[in-house]
């Protein structure tokens, strides 16, 4: 199916939207019949969705997809992809991010990317954009840069995240479900300070665009760090904005590390501002330390991590260690339970020790009954005698020994 066909189909999206509403209505009211539909692959609903997805994934009634509308180059390392989400996608708040799914060699990888466009663009034209910076050795970012073309269709997720600008209150743009997630921490009247490093600037572009159109009277400062001047993402757009908008101050630092002095001179009234931080983990840790020294109350700082959230444990890299005997700590996010292990205990044993009763079967790696979802952390496979590959998220608990910190999401 070519992109013209698809855009032609998308003209019918109001009809499809109505169909979808009708479908959900009918589905919701006929409780008994719904059960027949609801089965997974055996069910009629999934069958229909499969057929719809074969015609065009954008027609899917169960998953969100987006089509690449155009691709622009920001810097040599960063590209902006403008996407048109399918009609089921609900919208977002400035600062939120979405999950992007891409397939490499048969394996589906999922990564989060901040939306860099303003919610108005989605409201008016149904478009969003994400900006992806190539990370050296990064599998997904490089793959997206290399293979993604205009017209391609990607599976995406709903907009999520609490990194939202509270100085905005344009309720009409946001769906209720988005709003519920946000917890106000800063007073609405405060002046705003954004601090970003590298591609951490992406959510701020969305916020800045929205602030400029809705609250131009508010004072906003953006401090931006980059390795080199030609790596500054949105450089032209930002300098244009600072010319047009007198209340906006842009400060860029190229090739410098963040320091207490520069922070003090860039924004002397930091303690009175609502502070938003976005950048790599190391950068954020440092900035928060400095902010504390400048007496910034910690509840006015909001931060968004990106890159590798789970820090690779140094122990794993060191050779010659018996990985079975490394100390570990496991967090089961569904129940909120946490347990420490001196090493050598399997994930299943640890779950049982902490009072959980997960399903299990053979306890020797045959039956997959104890399969669970890991979110981050390293795992030693007792059958293969090696670490489980990073991208493999479904793991067999009975033959997995956690190495270092581990997060399991479905127990």
């Amino acid at each position: 199916m070519t992109s013209e066909d698809t855009s032609r189909l998308m003209q019918f999206s109001p009809i499809l939207r109505c169909m979808n509403v009708l479908f959900i209505q009918v589905n919701g009211s006929l409780n008994g019949v719904r059960q027949v539909f609801r089965q997974q692959l055996g069910g009629v609903q999934c069958f229909m969705d499969y057929v719809l997805c074969r015609i065009d994934p954008l027609l899917s009634l169960q998953r969100d997809y987006a089509q690449v509308v155009s691709i622009g180059e920001e810097t040599r390392q960063a590209k902006t992809f403008i996407l048109r989400p399918s009609f089921l996608w609900k919208g977002f708040l400035a600062g939120q991010h979405i999950q992007l799914e891409t397939e490499i060699n048969g394996v589906r990888y999922r990564r989060f990317y901040s939306i860099s466009s303003a919610p108005t663009l989605f409201a008016e034209r149904g478009l969003i954009s994400i900006t992806v910076k190539k990370i050296p050795g990064g599998r997904i970012s490089n793959h997206l840069h290399k293979t993604l073309r205009v017209g391609d269709i990607l599976a995406i997720g709903k907009a999520v995240g609490r990194f939202i600008c509270d100085q905005l209150d344009s309720e009409q743009l946001y769906t209720k479900s988005c709003r519920e997630e946000s917890v106000p921490i800063a007073e609405n009247s405060k002046e705003v300070l954004f601090i970003a490093a590298g591609s951490g600037v992406t959510p701020f572009k969305s916020m800045l665009e929205t602030l400029y159109s809705e609250k131009p009277e508010r004072k906003v400062t953006l401090i931006l760090y980059a390795n080199r001047a030609d790596e500054l993402i949105f450089n032209i757009w930002l300098s244009q904005l600072s010319e047009q908008w007198s209340n906006f101050r842009l400060i860029t630092h190229c090739g410098e590390q963040i320091s207490l002095d520069s922070l003090r001179s860039d924004c002397p009234d930091m303690a009175q501002r609502a502070v938003y931080l976005c950048g790599p983990v190391g950068f954020m840790d440092k900035t928060i330390r400095f902010a504390r020294e400048l007496d910034v109350p910690s509840d006015t700082i909001r931060q968004e991590n990106f890159g590798n959230v789970s820090r690779p444990s140094a122990l794993v890299d060191a050779a010659g260690i018996n990985l079975m005997l490394v100390e570990a700590e496991v967090l089961f996010t569904k129940t909120g339970k946490k347990i420490k292990s001196p090493g050598g205990k399997t994930l299943l044993e640890l779950a049982e020790q902490s009072g959980l009763h997960p399903k299990y079967g053979c306890r020797r790696g045959i039956c997959h009954e104890c399969t669970c979802q890991r979110e981050g952390g390293d795992i030693f496979n007792t059958l293969t005698g090696a670490l489980v590959p990073k991208e493999q998220n479904r793991i067999q608990a009975c033959i997995s020994v956690p190495v270092g910190d581990l997060v399991v999401s479905d127990w």
């Binding site: 692959l41 048969g106 079967g361 293969t384």
Partner: protein, 388 residues
Amino acid sequence: MDMKTRPLGLLSPNELNAFGSELDQLREQVLADLGQRDADYIRDIVQQQKMCEIVGRTLIHFSLNPLLFAGGIAALSCAKILENMEVGHNVMHGQYDWMNDPTLESQSYEWDTVCDAESWRKTHNFEHHTYTNILGKDRDYGYAVLRLTDDVPWKPYHFVQFINYILLSALFEWGVGLHELEFEKLKQGKVSLKEKIPFLKRFLRKSGRQLSKDYLLFPLLAGPMAPKVLLGNGIANLVRNLWTSTIIFCGHFTAGAETFSEEECENETRGMWYYRQLLGSSNFTGNKWLHIMSGHLSYQIEHHMFPDIPAHRYPEISEQVKVICQKYEIPYNTDRFGKQYLTVLARVARYSLPPADSRWRMAGEKIRSFAGRKIFRFLPEYRPPVIE
């Protein structure tokens, strides 16, 4: 008593360990190689299965002559067989979990049969695959209905087990669906009905949905032609039942497939487990489509050694398994499909008769001599291994 031509003790512990690690190596080799080819394969099969189902259901609905109607039934039967065997069974083993694809995820997959997927994962993936052919632990050995070895005490109702076998085959999805009920243990009072209530609830929910899909929703959609659709769907389900049970019976009940006792398998090593899977399973040969329609259970040996490796890899793996078996002088049970199936029928017939020490011996002898001449002449004679 005629068990164990090659008892588990035939290989020394060292040999068993070496045997096991060679198979582990083979497993690692294949796992490291999984990629686009496997993803393309399973998606292609899923697509063909859906096409089959669309064609089948359309023809059953709208066909105006018996030939097209029969074609529709054939297509729907194929779709159900493909979904159950090559997609459902294999996906639920976790063969495609590495793809991170939510529609091919072992623990959430639900399939097109009355058997609840959760129950299947427990009774099949865990019980059957862990305790394969261990009498008393693997309830799939004879499904608590058939007597397939003299190690199971003979009862008079075993005289009619050939009829039971045919019934079990025709109603196979119901047998599989109710497997977790453990009817024989309920009867003996080993488990109480109360423990089985959660299972029964799940079973009723799933079978209710399944029945309402095939025997209510689709017939109603056909309006006045409802009885035709009802009949078509019923026949397709029956064909699927007969085919799947036949394939599955050829996996463990052929002449050469062995059984084990619980004591033999205590403190089992990985090598011993592989060895037991090998001795307890049997393959059959055939063309590409026979393998696909059997969900590659025609490579039952490889399936039991590597249940979570994508099944379409078994043909390549089998060549290497055969080499390893030759090296350790272990028999590798394979033959033509028809031949293997005849030995299954022979086994069902053979053990329907009482053993020599039974007081029903004379009746058994009479039937044997009569049947040997008349009914079972087409069966190869079942020669139990001689015990010294």
